[in-house]
Subunit: 656 residues, 2 copies
């Protein structure tokens, strides 16, 4: 630190800070309950709109919250008054501290309306912290900004279980998705520019462009030296390369037809779903058909969610495969020479963002990879930081996207494998509405009024739903050796008999407990019973195990998921899928875990099959890979684009 | 504020804060010198790289800087440790405080390498604050992230006159450009979606989409009611509109061939310069040729730079014309119903970002509109905040892009007209290199070694350069009644005789003073002479006047700029340009100021004409308008795309 120009008083204050930090550091090694100031809630009836509830509550200053949960001043970076990034150095300071309990909120197969997993997460943490006075943290995904201006609205929870301020959560947050967009599109620009240059320039000109003379000196960068090593070239003096070496160094020889990298935008812009680029005369006819995806579908988002630190993130970014050469070799971001730039663009995004619930409990918002072509879970780093902060007797509650067959399976097999963290409890969210659907109720769709079956008491539909989908999803969690608490997210149309029936049948199906939750209408107070059930389940031993070992061949991994999780008889690989598997094995990608791209509306590949489908063969249409993120994703289903198109949906922004 | 649950101590502390705020408020009304802690500089020779210099200096915590310059705690929002947004409420608190001196840094016609205006701004402020101990502030543009990863590098200044930390300045900053990108692309998505819906749906379906039933109730939003008013419909009950009224309400009837709004990206991605969108089958054949521009070229950036506050920004956003209907009527963002969403996306971007120089002087970074199709100046709001903060005897130094004939002319006629602020001094930056070029020296181009004339002493070229371009640019500033100080940005190859000659001839040409500056090699200490000259010039009376009144007809405004500023004999309008003028007059846009889109490499429209070109007629190829920002921009020159294409340049990212 620059000390010149500092007066004695300032210097003395600095010394004092150092002393305080050291003493706090020592304390930080032991668990202690937080002195968290809860924000009082006085729920109104009828429940006002989400935005009205959010605006009616004044959040604590984020620096106060940070202090309450044991963060040192130098470990946070405020972004305005209600958000702060938390530095990863915290992990070093609390290295010796035991982790808290790790709770995953998953759901039964949902209706298209969603069953409220995010609100359960927030309600549960409000109950644990504000009512049971236990250290607890919610870890959530950052929502895409696209749907915020579409039909669906934001993802800050809802009713009296929300992250506040809602606008801050749903809009730019601390810029992570914007950083991902910038990084993703830098790769895309580099790809097209590189193909153009290679097509129009000779080796020597390309070499001068890639290794320019700066003040008369030409030097390889470390990234370039690494590429030379991969090519088997040990020379490090740019002027000493043989012409053939120069040629193999400068030419990636990317096949335009085999570029797999897409541009992204965080706006629901349907007209970018299929486009042609390069039509200006300056691009000399190098037109190419391509597409924009929604930003959260970028592999960089999946990397952010799985990275263990800055170095790991940079390695993964470099490893991303953007396409293949004409000779069939994978071409990576490292080959393009952009991995350093990507890491710089992402250097702040790697720090989780601290916010708070309506009742003043801490929330990390970090990463939000798509749940179909990626794993749909918030970041490993946020969970790790939170587990240290809550300490041994505390609780970290996080969420897996879609139904448990998808989000939870990926949470266990992909995220926990990457992080080394072990879950203690699964909270399985069910609603009477979804159970009735699985029990044979009529179709539920967004925008149409709910049929009467969903509004009036109908115990027979509930019974059938519980004995099919609910039971199966509980069994899936048990496959992994983790105790399950069923959380029935109560709607005002649910009858007491229906509620009791669900709780009873859930316990009969093996759930450690099953309780109704009223967080939406009552806040944390409405989830106290759930919090107690989770606390109880968390004190039981968990015998977590993966479904498959990384050594299992790709096909077998897919088959195990299909049979054991989805209940399929078998899988059926298309010739394309089989060819890809052969290629991935040959490239050494065979040990990667599997990230199924399947509809979330059924345990099978057919969205209309509710309950517990049986007697089906799961078709694998094609297989793709996110080598940087570190998983292979089979595309399930026969219908083109069914589950894989990153929908840039209809955009009719609401009036604000 | 929510006071329930607050203990007596907290309440007492809050009261104390209120008392302190009030007393500081009273002090804030009077001018007082800041107690600014300067950061010591010990310049090395040879001068290290910009990034090395930036990293070698430890910035003050931004909250300390904020306190030193008289900001109250509640007026700032930290973004990490080295950046903070400043709230606009400051303008209310300091309403009665007289403004400081307003100094504009402009330049002579530059070489393609640039002549260092940004470094002069920063060096001058370092000299004023750290060496003359005068309150002073630099106001800079936020650079586009695109070129940061291209050839040019960042825009944080250079050498020992820089904004630090350099990476923070050049990358995401506080997300303003990302917010602009999101807002711009939301408009674009809304345009294409709207055209598709109008082409494929009947009035009733469109109406249901635009005015949906929420819990059985349909309601017009305030934005929709305003649109109904414009259509002459006074009804406010959605169910009571006549079919014809519904039809005119729901149909903007945008002509796809007349959409002028483009998507933007903050990456130099040349393949997006011309594209075709809408090629997915879901878009039913509604393909359209369009393009991406660089994000800083968005009209929303120009609006951010000119807006006077949140309300003004929202009005301007709503007023943006995105195209015209088949019947030739302009269609605005307000017609699309997105202006509220845009304002929400931009609500944080409107607050300027506080950073600091290498010597700890305050800097506002805010807005960075393109200098060709927009006015190329940083924001009105940052200047206003800074002028209040420095107080009556302080200095605010800002920069106008390109040569004085472009950036300064627009600063005066567009920015000062919008802000009501009046400049006190123009600092005109010259280099021996550029003067030699104007004096007839050989061509200077990026990437090629400088010819000998520019390295060896050559007094005759210097004389010719001074008596042509330098003299003319001084005269242009005098046209507006503002005193000029010439700042000769000294390079190491400049000889003493050359330096003396420039200073002497500048004074003979009417400059109040002319001094050499050595900020690049020496920091603020190297610009003390300039600071003293500026202080002296600032104490002289300034008789500022606009070049034209807003009542002057469009053609006459253009002619006045062409003749008086550029030295043209006359202008020549293409038929397209004349037709546009007629249309704009008919639409009531005739009173807007003019924003010339002309090459910055010559006073004329021909980049190769150096010195003071005469005997030319300025061709106006076409005319466009940014109605939201509030100016009309004629495209100067006969070559298509010469000055107006928003280049998404070659992207070869450097290794970081």
């Amino acid at each position: 630190m620059e000390m010149s120009g500092v007066g004695p008083l300032t210097a003395a204050l600095r010394m004092q800070n150092v002393v305080q930090s050291s003493s706090r550091w020592a304390q930080g090694q032991q668990y202690r309950p937080w002195t968290l100031r809860s924000l009082k809630l006085q729920p109104l009836s009828p429940v006002p709109s989400d935005i009205e509830i959010s605006r009616a509550q004044t959040p604590k200053p984020v620096d106060q919250l940070a202090q309450e949960i044991g963060l040192l001043q130098e470990e946070t970076e405020a972004y305005g008054r209600t958000k702060a990034k938390v530095r990863l150095s915290l992990l070093d300071r609390l290295r010796e501290q035991p982790d808290g309990k790790y709770v995953l909120v998953a759901g039964i197969t949902p209706t298209p309306l969603g069953e409220g997993k995010s609100t359960v997460v927030i309600g549960l943490v409000q109950a644990l912290s504000a009512h049971l006075k236990l250290n607890s943290f919610a870890c959530l995904r950052q929502p895409s900004q696209g749907p915020t201006f579409g039909v669906k609205g934001g993802a800050a929870g809802g009713g009296y279980a929300q992250v506040i301020p809602m606008e801050e959560f749903n809009l730019h947050l601390t810029g992570d998705i914007h950083a991902i967009t910038a990084a993703n599109n830098l790769v895309a620009a580099a790809i097209d520019a590189r193909m153009l240059h290679e097509a129009t320039q000779k080796d020597k000109a390309l070499y001068s462009r890639l290794v320019p003379s700066v003040n008369g000196v030409r030097r390889f960068s470390p990234i370039q030296i690494a590429r030379l090593r991969r090519l088997g070239i040990s020379e490090i003096d740019p002027s000493a390369l043989m012409p053939q070496e120069v040629s193999s160094f400068v030419r990636l020889d990317l096949d335009p037809a085999k570029v797999t990298w897409q541009r992204v935008v965080d706006t629901n812009d349907r007209f970018l779903r299929k486009i042609t680029v390069g039509q200006a005369s300056t691009e000399k006819g190098h037109v190419r058909e391509t597409q924009f995806d929604i930003a959260v579908a970028s592999e960089i988002m999946a990397i952010l969610a799985l990275a263990d630190g800055l170095g790991d993130m940079k390695t993964r970014l470099g490893r991303m495969v953007v396409g293949s050469s004409r000779s069939g070799q994978p071409v990576t971001a490292e080959d393009l020479g952009v991995s350093g730039a990507l890491a710089v663009l992402m250097k702040d995004a790697i720090k989780p963002t601290l916010m708070q619930t309506l009742e003043g409990s801490p929330v990390f918002v970090h990463a939000g990879p798509f749940a179909n072509i990626a794993h749909g879970n918030s970041s490993v780093l946020a969970d790790k930081l939170a587990l240290k902060l809550v300490g041994e007797d505390g609780f970290v509650v996080t969420e897996a996207g879609f139904g448990a067959d998808i989000g939870m399976e990926k949470f266990f097999n992909i995220k926990c494998r990457a992080s080394g963290l072990r879950p203690n409890v699964v909270v399985l969210v069910a609603t009477v509405r979804a159970l009735k659907m699985h029990g044979g109720g009529p179709n539920v769709s967004a925008g149409s009024p709910l049929p009467r079956e969903y509004i009036d008491e109908n115990l027979s539909l509930v019974v059938k739903g519980c004995s099919s989908n609910l039971r199966k999803q509980i069994q899936i969690a048990h496959l992994f050796g983790v105790p399950v608490v069923v959380a029935l997210n109560v709607f005002k149309t649910d009858t007491q008999a229906e509620i009791d029936l669900v709780c009873q049948m859930a316990k009969e199906s093996g759930a450690s407990d099953a309780v109704p939750c009223h967080h939406w209408a009552r806040g944390g107070r409405g989830s106290v019973e759930l919090a107690q059930a989770v606390k109880q389940a968390g004190s039981q031993p968990s015998h977590f195990q993966f479904l498959y070992s990384q050594e299992t061949p790709i096909v077998e991994k897919i088959r195990m998921i299909a049979q054991k999780v989805y209940g399929a008889d078998d899988i059926e690989l298309s010739p394309e899928a089989q060819a890809k598997i052969d290629y991935y094995n040959q490239q050494g990608y065979g040990k990667l875990p599997i990230c199924m791209a399947k509809t979330h509306l059924s345990l099978s590949h057919l969205p209309e099959k509710k309950g517990t489908p049986t007697g089906f063969t799961l078709p694998i249409r094609d297989i793709r890979a996110s080598i940087g993120a570190g998983f292979i994703y089979p595309l399930v289903g026969t219908v083109m684009n069914m589950s894989v198109t990153i929908l840039l949906c209809v955009c009719v922004p609401p009036e604000v």
